[in-house]
Symmetry: C2
Subunit: 468 residues, 2 copies
């Protein structure tokens, strides 16, 4: 046999038999059967996430509610509360609780003894994808923000924003701590979640009313942008508190200063660096040069923020703000959009999926706590923002109530608080669920409220706007 | 103290002390310190991957070589062979071998005892991202392919393609098995890796020569497209062979038929379904409706392909082919491009990073095997495609040598073979490295070769083309 003779060839492989390497390969596959199946389970998880986010988003958009709410509710439905399609080891689930793993066991050669390893790997990947989702979301928010615009709307917006952040934060945290006996850290977390207005939701509602360019509309948008930045600093501060395990005033001051210094420093250094970055991009001629360069910048700042005990999202937001000032902003926004479409829903659906709404069932006595907390948070959320509108001075012609109500919807950043708080273990299930109910209800209630206090633009006002 | 009194409030939390929940949170964080650090390590890995892919890609593009080569070489440089920035447990690396983990230990509070867990989680996420990269790449290739165009270039291209697939496959597999004593499965894998021409590289070189629309250019592109489809079917067949552990003819036939049936079936059913999908997308009004619907379709087909023991990429390719026939193709291509820019480099850089070029050091006697294998594969790769050009019949006016040489560059699909083969454990390091050296060298050699046998378009030929 020619093969046997050639076995003595000097470069012959260790093993000549055509089937022995096959046996080694089989054994290796038996040890790590996950490889292709982890990918399959991640693909199925993404299919479930995307279907839930789109059905929820489309239904909400049909009834004039923000789509992000639908993504959250879609997550609740496929999550631990209802269907159990998407569950996580962090909430105590095992492979047996996951419908995706059960489905894989029926349709592929996944063996029960390997199921737990596949489940854990899949969960790890989905969690990191959802965290990448917030990073990309905050990068996009930074990119859509405008530092100059922010400064131009001036003192009015700033006064509204600061009152609108301080009032619900103090009332929420103080109320939870002194009235309800909630420990300091979760009380601060819940108070912080009351601070940030959803720019996207507010802008959309204003556009629907034809009021985006009214005086009130401009102040609302300006205040919402400032709100968002304050909310992010607060989030970074609060999240760091948990890590350093200390709520000394000196520590808070250090964190406020380091958050501010990071934001101001990265923006100053970034503005100095960005012409160099953009110049480099213009020299490049391979695919994706702008997007990858921008993300290298954003991910590096996100890493630095993590390394100095802030949050990754703060770095991504600062990177977005810096790149928003370059002449590549428009192009970059267009390229980031599909990436955000892909990873941001993973975050919102996972927040919903991890929320155990069972804690809000009033039939269980121990659950009444979450409901009472939620009711309290909702009242504080609405009153805190509404009074902020009345801090506007020397402008009797302005609809102050409309400005306050315009700032009521919480949306994304509130959910980011719930997600980060839950992931860090600082929030009890009742407090987390109360925050999510608060976000859902403020966002549900704001559009009809705003329609009542801020009727659609009349002809006079429209022409006045045109004159502006 | 008011707080102490309120501790008896009926909804008071289990534990009143403001610091006790903090203690619980700290403990939980101590148990799972990875959370933020896994994200940080993934962000750093992506930064390293993107920098390596862009530097490599840009340098190659400057010297008129395909950028994908640079991504691969960039991966080699940051991988196990050179710097050790990006290493994987699958190649025997531990946290101590990873520069990223070492860097995290110096710059964050990552403790040595938690380092291995962070390293494994990071590797898992990067591997799945790189697998998602191939899935998206093949979806994009499907989307850019054109079934009708494929059929139109007709028998000439088919004859060239089939010869160009069969000749190097038979010569490569047979030669490795009979001459070099390589076992059957890796021999088949290496032979299969010789089959598929890189459409991207070939099209780019032709465009640079101004020959894309010449008769020869059209036949080359047509044959490269057919090649690619055949290569994907061969990849699915070969990869399935490893899983089922059998190389009976009946099994091969079953796989060929099931691959063909899957591709034909999904295309037929998909063409029937796609108007419904596109109609649904047109009814939707939330962000990312087209991209997410398309990816739900692609990921579902990828899952089905995995479930019937084919490869996920075959499903993604079929989904791309189907959606290429709809009127949303252009829009979808634009939205998939940034996503591909983001995940595809992860795949190529990881292929490079996992390649231990140490096996090609000729100073080590046992390494000479890989070098001899590579030399053999390169000769077969060039001759196999070159003779394919001469199968064109009844067209004495055609530059047959140019067609053959035009099909020489292997690129993406060849690397997919190396990656899939390596991940499944079927390829020895020497064989894998030999395949990668073959891909690199055929792609390096083809552009100058083609320039010699196929001079830049003369004026006559240009006007002839215009007349066509």
């Amino acid at each position: 046999m020619i093969v046997a003779q050639l076995n003595d060839f000097p470069v012959a492989m260790i093993n000549f038999s055509p089937f022995s390497l096959l046996a080694i390969a089989e054994e290796k596959i038996a040890q790590e059967p996950e490889n292709a199946l982890v990918l399959a389970s991640v693909l199925l998880s993404l299919v479930a996430i995307y279907i839930a986010s789109k059905i929820g988003g489309e239904l909400c958009s049909r009834i004039n509610l923000p789509p992000v709410l639908g993504e959250l509710v879609g997550g609740v439905i496929i999550g631990v509360s209802v269907l159990g399609v998407l569950v996580f080891p962090q909430t105590g689930a095992t492979a047996e609780d996951s419908l995706i793993i059960a489905f894989l066991e029926r349709t592929t050669d996944l063996q029960p003894e390997a199921a737990q390893a596949v489940f854990e790997a899949q969960s790890e990947v989905i969690i990191v994808l959802s965290e990448l989702g917030v990073v990309i979301l905050l990068f996009e928010i930074g990119l859509e923000s405008d530092l100059k615009e922010l400064l131009r709307v001036g003192p009015q917006a700033a006064a509204v924003a600061i009152t609108g952040v301080v009032a619900p934060f103090v009332a929420g945290t103080g109320g939870l701590y002194y009235l309800f006996g909630v420990p300091a850290v979760p009380a601060i977390f819940a108070g912080a979640a009351l601070t940030a207005t959803s720019i996207g939701i507010t802008a959309k509602v204003l556009a629907e009313l034809g009021r985006l360019n009214s005086q009130e509309g401009q102040i609302i948008i300006g205040a919402a942008v400032i709100d968002d930045v304050l909310g992010i600093i607060i989030l970074a501060v609060v999240a760091s508190l948990i890590k350093t395990g200390n709520i000394e005033v000196g520590n808070i001051l250090y964190l406020v200063i380091s958050a501010a210094a990071f934001l101001v420093g990265t923006i100053l250094i970034g503005r100095f660096l960005s012409p160099f970055l953009i110049g480099m991009v213009k020299q490049m001629n391979t695919r994706g040069q702008l997007l990858l360069t921008a993300l290298v910048f954003a991910f590096t700042l996100a890493y630095i923020a993590t390394a100095i005990e802030l949050e990754a999202i703060l770095g991504a937001f600062a990177a977005g703000l810096v790149l928003a000032e370059t002449d590549k902003r428009k192009e970059l926004e267009e390229q980031v959009a599909p990436v955000a479409d892909l990873v941001v829903p993973v975050f919102f659906v996972c927040v919903g999926a991890r929320t155990d709404l069972g804690v809000l069932n009033p039939a269980v006595p121990s659950n009444r706590e979450g409901l009472i907390l939620a009711a309290f948070l909702i009242v504080v959320a609405i009153i805190g923002k509404t009074i902020a509108g009345f801090t506007i001075f020397g402008r009797p012609d302005i609809n102050k109530l409309a400005i306050g109500v315009g700032l009521v919807p919480r949306g994304e950043v509130g959910l980011v608080f719930a997600g980060v708080g839950s992931a860090s273990g600082a929030l009890s299930p009742a407090t987390e669920a109360a925050i999510i109910v608060m976000v859902i209800l403020t966002t549900f209630l704001a559009p009809p409220f705003l329609r009542v206090v801020f009727p659609e633009a009349s002809e006079t006002e429209t022409s006045e706007q045109e004159g502006t």
